[in-house]
């Protein structure tokens, strides 16, 4: 057990809480939920993939000065720590890789990411980060996922924000590259193309690619795209690409909280309704894990999906051929071999 695990709730060892039990099942639960959809999307995307470019093409490009990259994810610290302002003030000229969920934040601050990454196959939610021309008030009433969360609170003003991102992408899209996973929904692919973004295709790994009859190997044979271990979420995939595709050796991640500030109401967490359904109002607390961040001397809490992301990330970081700096300045992503450091220090080094 590493130090970070020891800091979890004492219930871990003998009587894991409901949330901790779910963390152990997250890989399986995720596969069950996304696999059929992701592969159906990959099949539907095949004509576009055949006409498009592979992520391999990025390996021949000089993206950003030097060996540094900054990954911008959409966690709550992104706003609290003023990441964009810091990048601009430092005249940072290394690579900037953004998750699709932080694209609006970047563009609003006058930052055009060198690369945007998208991977989640969800049929209606992910396109919202690109602006959904079909979005109606009825859609918003049906799914309050964005409004409840603090990923980008401006989505509470959803229709206005939707129009804004459409306009921003119309203007800046042609200057942007995007790594689109074959698993992406057709609505996302359509928006990326419509807005004139330069699309680079890739496959997420679904299983061991060395397995002769495996899903990853079969998919790669079908569409010819490189397969990347995406680590369960788009932020980790972006970090992976900074190193394995762009060849950056010093990589900072920002906005990668993988958790919530202690003052965030449970209702504003990503799986609140599901947590409520599983645990009930009385046992809701058991769905969440409270973690003390010794670098910040501050408590945060997290849910099973985020804690799983953290475990995956730490596993990947252990084998990565780069130094990883967590410059989020918040959240639960710490532990060997990650350097937990302020963004200002990374930018100054």
């Amino acid at each position: 057990m590493d130090a970070s695990q020891a800091e979890r709730e004492p219930a871990t060892a003998d009587s894991p809480s409901l949330g901790q039990q779910l963390v152990a099942q997250m890989g399986e639960i995720t596969r069950a939920r996304i696999l059929d959809l992701a592969l159906a999307n990959a099949r539907a995307n095949l004509p576009a993939i055949r006409e498009g470019q592979s992520l391999k093409a990025l390996r021949d490009m000089e993206i950003g000065e030097g060996d540094k990259a900054v990954v911008i994810a959409a966690g709550p610290s992104l706003h609290r720590k003023q990441v964009a302002e810091q990048l601009l003030a430092a005249d940072y000229d290394g690579a900037i890789i953004a998750t699709e969920s932080s694209m609006l934040y970047c563009l609003r601050h006058g930052i055009i990411p060198d690369l945007v990454v998208t991977v989640d196959p969800h049929p209606s939610r992910i396109v919202r980060w690109f602006g959904d021309p079909e979005l109606t008030e009825a859609d918003l009433q049906e799914d309050d996922y964005f409004q409840r969360q603090d990923l980008d609170s401006s989505f509470a003003k959803a229709l206005r924000t939707n129009a804004e991102i459409i306009e921003l992408l119309e203007h800046y899209g042609p200057q942007m590259r995007i790594a689109v996973s074959s698993s992406s929904a057709s609505s996302v692919v359509q928006r990326a193309h419509q807005s004139g973004m330069q699309v680079y295709w890739w496959n997420p790994m679904y299983d061991d690619p060395n397995r002769q009859d495996g899903i990853t190997r079969t998919l790669q044979a079908e569409n010819g795209l490189p397969c990347i271990n995406a680590g369960g979420n788009v932020g980790s995939a972006a970090w992976m690409m900074a190193n394995a595709v762009l060849g950056k050796k010093r990589i900072a991640v920002t906005g990668m909280d993988l958790g919530y500030y202690a003052d965030t109401p449970y209702r504003n967490t990503q799986y609140y309704y599901e947590a409520l359904a599983l645990a009930g109002e009385e046992r809701l607390e058991e769905m969440y894990m409270h973690i003390y961040n010794p670098h910040l001397e501050q408590w945060f809490y997290t849910d099973p999906a985020y804690l799983w992301y953290r475990d995956c990330f730490l596993q990947m970081a252990e084998h990565a051929r780069c130094a990883t700096y967590n410059c989020t300045e918040g959240g639960i992503l710490f532990g060997d071999p990650i350097h937990f450091t302020p963004l200002a220090d990374f930018l100054a080094a």
Partner: protein, 60 residues
């Protein structure tokens, strides 16, 4: 339930219990909730991080 409730008439058609595998409403509710949990995409616990791109492959 059929042991507890007795009707005083015969139904025109046989009544079939459609509940899934005898699961309670609460269990079905939990099952549906579990389906919506999880991450965005798979994670493969493997040191090889890129595959199918000969220039980039990292195989320890």
């Amino acid at each position: 339930m059929s042991d507890l409730l007795k009707g005083n008439f015969d139904t025109a058609k046989p009544v079939v219990d459609n509940s899934e595998d005898g699961q309670t409403l609460e269990q079905r509710f939990e099952k549906e909730a579990l389906k919506k949990l999880g991450g965005s995409i798979a994670f493969v616990a493997k040191q090889e991080v890129v595959w199918g791109d000969e220039d980039a492959e990292q195989d320890d």
